[in-house]
């Protein structure tokens, strides 16, 4: 009975409608709330107000939506590739590797263009995540919880290397910016890379079916005629790109890629082609919600969205750990 109920497309439509409604409200709130104390209507009428609106409020709202949506998509892809529900860029060392790459290129070539920085950071994220996946292959499949545990500590070891280099070269401040996601610094001209991140997430949709099959495991996927290696490389590439885009623009937002896919798959299953749009929508909504909450909690001061999400995200993570029996992935 439950299965047939879950398969009804109307439940997804309902979810879509509910999340979209919430999103619309949040977008309005995000556009209206800021340190400048003026109503939305006032802003749009005066010339200065309109400028503020277009340079600060609109980019900030877009940045939160894009970062949330693409990180959530990256989370889904990682969970299918690692075949583990608890994996995401922050529990696999991906974000830490991206930051290490950025740090190295910033030190070696301080005047390099953003594209070179981006490329190095992305390669580091790719390599680091590939090493993680290779490590995880050696763990017994009967212990799914070992995977995120290994990933978190692996990330910690890489973060220690990064912190050491940064400390000895007086670059700790950069590191703080890259590792703590927040949107208060977002202005027009400083976030546009996130659109590229959104495009990459969109491109992931073309591979949705292949990721679903890869999620069945290597043997099953090869048996079904999938070029497993190819899909693995494409998936890793997408995850690395999205993570380094996010790290370089707004900083790491841990647990987005973990919480969102788990909530969505709890209600709608694991068919990536059907759930990816939902995942992206929910991810964007939740990150925007934590940004708006961060702006309201201590108005007119701001709390980073990453901090707000950290509290909510770890809470949901603990709930998942206790709610799911040990045998369920």
């Amino acid at each position: 009975m439950r299965l047939t109920v879950r398969r009804l497309p109307s439940s997804e439509l309902l979810w879509f409608a509910a999340v979209t409604g919430l999103l619309a409200g949040l977008v309005l709130a995000s556009l209206a709330i800021g340190a400048a104390d003026a109503g939305l209507a006032d802003l749009l009428q005066s010339k200065d107000g309109l400028e503020l609106f277009l340079i600060s409020r609109v980019p900030r709202t877009c940045a939160a939506l894009l970062a949330g949506a693409s990180l959530a998509v990256a989370g889904v892809i990682m969970q299918m590739l690692a075949r583990n529900r608890f994996v995401e860029p922050a529990t696999a060392g991906t974000g830490e590797c991206a930051a290490l790459g950025l740090l190295v290129v910033t030190m070696a070539m301080p005047s390099s263009t953003i594209f070179l920085k981006m490329a190095v950071s992305c390669c580091a994220a790719f390599g680091g995540t590939a090493v993680f996946l290779a490590l995880v292959q050696k763990l017994p499949p009967t212990q799914p919880l070992l995977v995120p545990l290994t990933g978190i500590i692996y990330g910690g070891v890489i973060a220690a290397i990064t912190t050491f280099i940064a400390y000895e070269n007086d670059l700790l401040q950069y590191l703080g910016v890259w590792m703590n996601g927040e949107f208060s610094g977002i202005l027009q001209g400083r976030y546009e890379l996130l659109w590229a991140s959104g495009l990459v997430a969109l491109a992931a949709y073309l591979y949705a079916d292949r990721f679903t099959i890869a999620g069945l495991g290597r043997d099953a996927a090869v048996g079904l005629g999938l070029d497993y290696r190819h899909v693995l490389i494409v998936g890793l590439g997408i995850v690395a790109l999205i993570t380094s885009f996010t790290v370089i623009t707004v900083g790491m937002l841990p647990f987005v890629g973990l919480v969102v896919p788990n909530i969505v798959s709890h209600f709608h299953g694991d068919n990536a082609r059907r759930t990816l749009p939902l995942v992206a929508l929910t991810g964007g909504t939740l990150v925007l919600a934590s940004d708006v909450a961060g702006r309201l909690l201590r108005y007119p001061y701001e709390i980073p969205a990453g901090t707000v999400f950290g509290v909510v995200g770890t809470g949901v993570f603990l709930w998942l750990l206790f709610a799911r029996p040990a045998h369920a992935r």
Partner: protein
């Protein structure tokens, strides 16, 4: 031959202390000795507190991977401290006596830790890895909550307490040195008296009960000791993450015994060698600033990965 091994460790620890006090010293000896002596005392206290709390905790939880800081105890201490500032405000917090403040925080921490982890540990660890992951995530949650509270505190208030809250090996909070020394020594004495009981506890819950031990009571006492020690070391130098694990892993590898009398002494000596020796090496010989804690984190993380891979294969 544990006695000879202990002697070797003791000698190494003595050499580390000697090097720390004398290497690169110039000028007025009485100034150098008092200046370095205070720092040395703090380092010794931290070494004793972290190693003892880790050994105790691992015996109580019946495994050699979990440590109090992996389970988020020191993150919880920072949360309690921040929560106190948040509740009392700048003025209330600053007017409290440091010792009274410390005592209050320790009591709060003990209550919170026993409430959170007591029941989890009391039921026995059926699923070690689940426990570990829960602990790690609790740690992240406590840290997130702490930084959330710090943002909620008025920035002016925050600046006042920030100095006291973020200690490190380089900026040791010496205000509490005397109180911590008394506390750590008392804990060491209590743990030493309980060393044979701990040997029995290490056999596991069922064996310990059938040998006539009040398992619940001993668990409660042990956990209380652990939280006291963690609170002391965190107040002195801040969170140390994998230091305890590094020390306990080295101790078990080196000593290969189950007797807690030997284990406790050896772990303290190893902690002194790593901490004081490492600090000497980094500060005086290699000329790096305050990065010893980062290197300990790095090495401890590798040890942790090694241990879980070995455990998973077995």
């Amino acid at each position: 031959m544990p006695d000879r091994k202990l002697l070797v460790l003791g000698l190494c620890a003595f050499l580390a202390v000697l090097a720390f006090m004398t290497l690169g010293a110039r000028g007025n000896w009485s100034f150098v000795l008092t200046f370095r002596g205070t720092k040395l005392a703090a380092l010794l206290l931290v070494a004793a507190a972290v190693s003892l709390s880790t050994i105790l905790f691992q015996t109580l939880s019946g495994n050699r991977i979990l440590t109090p800081s992996i389970m988020g105890f020191d993150a919880l201490y920072l949360l309690v401290q921040t929560g106190l500032v948040f509740a009392l405000g700048e003025f209330g917090y600053a007017t409290l006596l440091p010792e009274a403040k410390f005592a209050f925080e320790v009591v709060l921490l003990t209550v919170a830790a026993l409430a959170l982890f007591g029941s989890l540990l009391g039921n026995g660890l059926q699923d070690l890895f689940r426990m570990l992951l829960v602990g790690v995530i609790f740690g992240v949650l406590f840290r997130s909550l702490t930084s959330l509270l710090q943002r909620l505190i008025d920035p002016n208030e925050f600046a006042v307490v920030q100095g006291a809250m973020f200690a490190s090996f380089n900026s040791i909070d010496t205000e509490l040195l005397l109180a911590s020394a008394v506390l750590v020594l008392a804990c060491c004495g209590l743990a030493w008296r309980k060393r044979h009981i701990l040997d029995v506890m290490a056999l596991g819950r069922d064996q310990a009960i059938s040998l006539g031990l009040d398992h619940r009571r001993e668990l409660f006492h042990g956990l209380a000791l652990v939280t006291l020690l963690v609170a002391t070391s965190t107040a002195l130098v801040g969170p140390v993450a994998f230091f305890g694990l590094l020390v306990s892993a080295l101790t078990y590898e080196f000593l290969k015994t189950h007797r807690h009398g030997n284990l406790m002494i050896a772990s303290m000596l190893i902690a002194v060698i790593v901490l004081v020796g490492g600090q000497t090496l980094f500060e005086r010989v290699l000329g790096f600033g305050g990065s010893l804690s980062i290197v300990i984190e790095f090495l401890g993380g590798l040890v942790f990965l090694f241990l879980i891979f070995r455990k998973a294969r077995a």
